[in-house]
Symmetry: D3
Subunit: 61 residues, 6 copies
């Protein structure tokens, strides 16, 4: 029952989400030897105003 | 200070959230022997487009 | 596919974990109207030296 | 590569987020002896209807 | 600055972790159009006694 | 009831954890105008073998 949380800055298209869901599931299923059906993925699209690196909000860079 | 994060697909009504908050708090307080007041719960309602199982987005199933 | 993460200070016995798993699953299944089999729970037992409330580590209180 | 997730009830202004990003980065960089550029912070502003303490939703208190 | 958290039941070998790190990074970099260097992954190996599905601890199934 | 999760590579001393707990609590209390007592912090010390950036495990860099 692998659980995966993916947090990205900004919005993704449905096509991008489908590619991530399929690709990440394939990688983990193969590498960790887990059935694909057991892998659960959550994708969070976060505002750039709510993420900081180096102490600075992303949308101020 | 137990912390609980609950992530569900789709929206919950206020009534459902109240039941979850009360019920989960009761279970953990009793089973883990912690004061109810110390238990903190976050409920996340996620879009079905942002969750995948078996490599497929939930809203494509 | 509800996902639940529970973080507690200190160790729990197997019996406590079983009660939490069963009880929390029942509450969410009933309140949110989800099949029990779809509910995934992770329990994290954290050292009291690694949790703080009010700015003070729990094991210094 | 420290990762920090901060979840608060209600909305924060941009000014508040900037102060949190700068301040938390400074504290961790200095205390843990990590380069500031490596510190990644996510701030989540959660609805008070989706947080409970003591088994009660925050907006019912 | 995508952040990825992967939680699996049981231990992984170093070889498995390397494959997951490389593969998941490649998938997200390509699908979300992000530089590889910006992708941060945490892998958590959890005890089967601390995970439940369907209300039952994994090591009791 | 702000909740903060901090994940770092490698071990921290008790002194470092105390500084982080006190400092992060002060910053958030002041910036977000929350009572200190309501702020809950979890510090996770992760193995460098379980973190990757740019697709490479930290202990292989």
């Amino acid at each position: 029952m692998p659980y995966v949380s993916i947090r990205v800055a900004g919005k993704l298209s449905r096509k991008q989400k489908k590619k991530i869901a399929r690709g990440v599931t394939d990688v983990i299923a193969k590498a960790a030897n887990k059935p694909k059906e057991s892998i659960l993925i959550f994708i969070d699209e976060e505002s750039r105003e709510n993420i900081a690196s180096g102490g600075v909000l992303l949308d101020e860079k």
